[in-house]
Symmetry: C4
Subunit: 203 residues, 4 copies
């Protein structure tokens, strides 16, 4: 099975999920205080929307990078990809719940933040499983040099460690957990050395 249709379906899911994030951006409308006040009150929604948008965008970029290098999609990869999409699709829910509870403080905000970090962690684990299965079963078109494989592992680990730490931090402060998810996203935007090296190494 070639990867074209898997990518088309996944792109569709990524595109819908990233756009549905914005459905949570809605103000109550006239008669609920000034618009400026409503928008200011909704800042957790805007912050969470921005971070979730960026995170899904980054996963899409990485999804593309890995699948264009796969020579064969077996049934296990199909279902690992469904697992990844399962977490992607749950992100709008996790984002909206996080945004609703962030300003409440207390146990509810901690649980909402842990849920939010958990969705990211689940997505991150599914992505690592896809990578690990591909390498182990030699589905890669271009074999990774040992150095690249090591660096790729480090790159994945940073996200996963970040999100696990974030789940723990969530139970102390939801806001701190949100900041961690933002930092992880920022790391993946700017951390581009391994990719360039890999490209340079390719024949």
């Amino acid at each position: 099975m070639d990867s074209a249709r898997l990518e088309a379906f996944s792109d569709g899911v990524f595109a819908v999920a990233i756009t549905l994030l914005a459905l949570d951006l809605v103000v109550a409308g006239p008669g609920h205080g000034t618009l400026a006040h409503q928008l200011a009150d909704k800042w957790p929604s805007f912050a969470a929307y921005f971070i979730s948008f960026l995170t899904i965008g980054i996963i899409w970029v990485n999804h593309h990078a890995i699948f264009k290098n796969l020579s064969e999609i077996d049934r296990t990869l199909l279902f690992l990809n469904l697992l990844l999409l399962f977490f992607v699709v749950s992100i709008p829910f996790a984002t909206s719940t996080m945004a609703s509870y962030l300003r409440q403080g207390g146990a509810d905000s901690h649980l909402a933040a842990a849920l939010y970090m958990g969705a990211f962690e689940g997505m991150s684990i599914a992505f690592s499983l896809i990578f690990w299965w591909s390498v182990r079963h030699e589905h890669l078109k271009v074999q990774l040099a040992p150095g690249d494989a090591r660096r790729a592992t480090v790159r994945f680990s940073i996200g996963q460690v970040g999100y696990v730490v974030g789940i723990g931090v969530a139970f102390v402060s939801a806001l701190a957990a949100l900041v961690i998810s933002g930092l992880v996203a920022a790391y993946y935007v700017f951390e581009q050395t391994p990719r360039r090296d890999a490209a340079a190494d390719a024949p």
Copy 2:
């Protein structure tokens, strides 16, 4: 007519439907009890979401498998595919109704569960019609060996019998029907022998 655009359109519908499932995952927000309590109360939504996500994912995998083996798409197949998508698109509604009524018990929960199983059964019948039409009109690129055709028929039958039994069971216990839909999905995730055989048989 080639199948590329039919697959692109179908992938779009699958992707939107699978993502819309998650729109039902929403908690009432602050002021409606603790978040932990709300999430626990919503377990039917999470269970139904998980099963529906998996079921649509499996149908997508099988849809891909069949259409890449079709040499020609005639007008009847276009409309049989629309019939399939009609049931796919109704799954978020059936899922959400099922989730709303599961914990109520009584006649309403039975009807909601029957509706849920009915949507799956309709999807399954439409899929079988596509397969049957393709074989009968010799639209397949690779002809099936008699053994493969028999096994494919058995595979389809298990799902359809499962869902028909599920519709009956729904009128006794909505929860038991939900379990059946989960078992059918699990069967299709793990039942992969025919596919591997078919691949090994292909020239």
Copy 3:
């Protein structure tokens, strides 16, 4: 400009619009009468959903048929296609409004039905403009035989006349207008002779 990306974008819009139709299929939930009663009360939603689903599906089939025969997409066609999509995107709104008012009777139901038929008529006119522009500017890969062009014109006219009549009928009976929209859709499902002829004529 080739048509691949125009088709991909249009397929996306068709797929989202056809799936959003089902968002209107929602019951009020426990505490609003029995589920059976609620579902029976919602029959206009189910009927309108079915007809709109079929109509968008048919337009998608025809959209594919025409664009795969276009050798060149000029700027005018891009905007005529946007006009078509504009009406397609408005169909979920028109469908939901029609379904809300159908059982009210009176002036409101007449207006809602006229709006519903009007969305179909607008879509139908945009589609005819695309066809007319393509023929007139000789963008077709396979030139139509005079007989085919005449038959294509007749096919388009039937839909347009049907919808115009439907707009008029809407002001007498919303239900009769809905029946007309269903009959037009049924006509396009079963009326397939011109297509087969065209295929047979192609070199």
Copy 4:
């Protein structure tokens, strides 16, 4: 990295965003005054829907025009494209807020209109950054003649100046800002000379 999957993902986001615009087109239903009255009351929604649909459509047309001429997509372009999509995805929210407040007048309507123009301005700036980066890093397949580059710059500037002026005007009159956004869209529909020249100049 080739541009095919970037375009597929972007097309998906454009398609979902343009269709979600119509989710704001909903009337309260029976019992909230006559339908005619409700529809007349919602005219800001219809006007804003029309302008936003056209604006996203135009950006899609231009997105296609620029990316088919890119020989290479580097990581910066990937993230600039995500920035563009970020603003595209926020347009349904900005449109719905604008439509809710337009008829209220006063400070809230001014802020809502400024938000609306701001989303368009952000989208326009992201698009210019994509163009500017492509030219500067020589990613274009067909190099622009100096005249074409100048005309392209003028074309972009008109939109951006229009939207900046619109943000200012919004604080005087929301309606006037809406008219400006409509005029900018109309300009891009009819202003097609540079494109034709560019095509004629191409070898």
